[in-house]
Symmetry: C2
Subunit: 390 residues, 2 copies
């Protein structure tokens, strides 16, 4: 990449992050009455629902703390992170120590699910907020939540799976993926013998159970020992998830100085782009069947914002780590599609949901799954990457 292009991209990411995305959420998303974040935001920031998703609360705390820790000591960011952190602690834990999925505006419990993602995002929120605030209790909380999550994941019977495990035992790629990302964040602020153990086990699962030598894909669901499942779930590829995993693996390869791991991660990136890219209309599909059979997910061919943010960063990182110009070509293609389709210029933030043909399917700027996370995280990661020596 030419130095001029690097510099222009770097400035573009910083501006998008600091002048568009973050201000949109601080302007419309802060709940000054009850704490935490309102995130059901319509096109102009109007609040169309006041229930609070726990994922969103935790991800926002993480993001704002991260910016405070790495960009500038902006007290508005720290104040907002604190309000979210306090809301999480006060309202988002059940009596059994597990976390809710959604609560009301005031913090009363609405839904608890069988997954550990509220816990994962809260662990990184507490860890990063501890760095920002210097609050030792937050670090201790990160540790507790992380250990509780790993314990629940490793102990059969604590979380009943959706599908009867006696009939069809399955494992899903989402858990090793999130365990790697969560652990990578926690080890910034603390050390724990569990960290390497969790990452080693998760890497082994991804590389040897969810990837099969004879099939160029990272599968979403496999049997307990990595067996292929000849069902729609067993043939499912989620290109966005696979690409996100690829950059978590690249980070790990860089952290360990393990070039082979970076190569494996780039393979996953290559396969996922090949399977996931829509050569007719551009953009990444949300789901594909690895054998080309119908997907059960009605939204399979919709273009969602987050696979595109993950792909942008994964491609820039792959280019940075390998120097392979293919990644610059792919990056340019992904950049053109993403920035010509998702941003809602003049009104701030991005649309999240496009039809296959790229037209806007839903004007919401935030919902139960979309908050101040994937876009600002990718912009921040890309900006920082371009600040590194090429």
């Amino acid at each position: 990449m030419s130095p001029e292009k690097r510099a222009a991209l770097r400035d573009f990411f910083r501006e998008q992050l600091l002048d568009d995305i973050i201000p949109f959420w601080l302007r419309h998303g802060l709940d000054r009455e009850h704490g935490g974040f309102l995130h059901h935001l319509d096109r102009d920031g109007r609040v169309y629902g006041t229930d609070k998703g726990v994922w969103i609360q935790a991800r926002a705390v993480w993001m704002l703390s991260k910016l405070y820790n790495t960009v500038e000591r902006n007290e508005d960011w720290l104040d907002a992170a604190r309000a979210g952190y306090e809301f999480l602690l006060r309202h988002c834990f059940d009596a059994d120590g597990r976390m809710f999925f959604a609560v009301t505006r005031e913090g009363r419990p609405l839904r608890k699910r069988r997954y550990l993602f509220s816990e994962a995002f809260t662990a990184i929120a507490c860890s990063e907020y501890a760095r920002a605030s210097g609050d030792a209790n937050a670090l201790a909380k990160a540790h507790d939540v992380y250990h509780g999550m790993v314990h629940a994941y490793r102990t059969p019977g604590i979380l009943a799976p959706k599908t009867d495990p006696a009939t069809r035992p399955m494992q899903s790629h989402a858990m090793p993926m999130i365990l790697i990302a969560t652990t990578q964040e926690l080890r910034i602020s603390s050390s724990d013998p569990l960290y390497d153990d969790v990452i080693d086990q998760s890497l082994d699962a991804i590389l040897h159970s969810f990837v099969h030598p004879d099939i160029p894909a990272l599968l979403e669901n496999v049997g307990p020992r990595g067996e292929r499942l000849d069902t729609p779930a067993g043939r499912l590829v989620n290109p966005g998830h696979a690409i996100e995993s690829a950059w978590f693996l690249m980070h790990e390869g860089r952290h360990r100085g393990d070039q082979e791991l970076i190569t494996r991660a780039c393979d996953i990136l290559d396969w996922s782009l090949e399977l996931g890219w829509d050569y007719e209309y551009g953009g990444l599909f949300s789901f594909v069947d690895v054998e080309g059979l119908p997907c059960e997910q009605l939204e399979w061919d919709m273009k969602l914002w987050w696979p595109h943010t993950e792909a942008l960063y994964a491609l820039l990182l792959a280019l940075h780590l390998t120097g392979d110009e293919r990644y610059e070509d792919w990056y340019d293609r992904m950049h053109d599609y993403t920035f010509s389709h998702f941003p809602d210029s003049g009104r701030g933030e991005w649309f999240g949901y496009l039809h296959r043909d790229g037209s806007v399917a839903n004007t919401m700027k935030g919902g139960l799954w979309k908050g101040p996370f994937h876009i600002p995280r990718a912009l921040w990661l890309m900006w920082r990457l371009l600040d590194e020596k090429p």
Copy 2:
């Protein structure tokens, strides 16, 4: 409607039903090895998944038995219905008497859900199969399953709702709707003091809790005493559901000779068409927010086969019962959209899932939600209706 148009439509429905839809399912869907029906069928009938949805098994048994009872004594239909009935009895009940949502091809349990729809469809399957086969055990089973379902619905605590009822008590339109339809089927073959009680209570719920005097819509979710909920769920309208309810109510009005009930049902039909019709591309939306705010359902603007089949029959019935020519105009509009978009001419059956603009989003002919039910039921109902005196 002119006699010529009536006659032409009548023949068209009969041909579609008997020469296209039913043969497609008998050719591709019968599981001659393990009993029951395979229903994950791709465009040409290829099986892309062998797991069996219990809804589909029961609905197929009902439909084939209904055709045997009302069209002709076709032994192929009865044999297929029997194989499905036996599969239901042998494999689809849990030890506690409740039913599974999905089982494997061989009948081992995969998923059980917190809803009573497997039970509702099995009750009508058993009732109609009892009429076809003369099997008194099937009638007894219909009775048992029906009573179990009503008991579970009426007894708080048996089925934990998704949203914490201590924080946000809610009721969903789907249950009174399905209770009316199920009871209407059961009373064809048996009588029970519970039947009128269930229908009266369900009518009251629909007309006085899910319909509000100040808002022209049948809402999907309201509070326990019909309170409006200012949340995305509380503003949700499912036009297909509402239209289906409307024709269940018209049936009830006709059964009771209650013209006022028919008028109320036609109001619901009118509102749902007005809210649900896509005046830009044609077809019915899958979900709409009654205040025009964003829907959380990603597929909100997709055009699904089943709201259209329900609307076709509801419109023809409304025309039949009221003579109002508006319903003929609406019928023509719905007919043109439906038959120019959904059928896959030459390959049999219909596509189920279109994008907002009417292009095909998914080539599957059957899946966990699409089986031999909405299309053949509507064709059969419309054919029979046109056989009645105008």
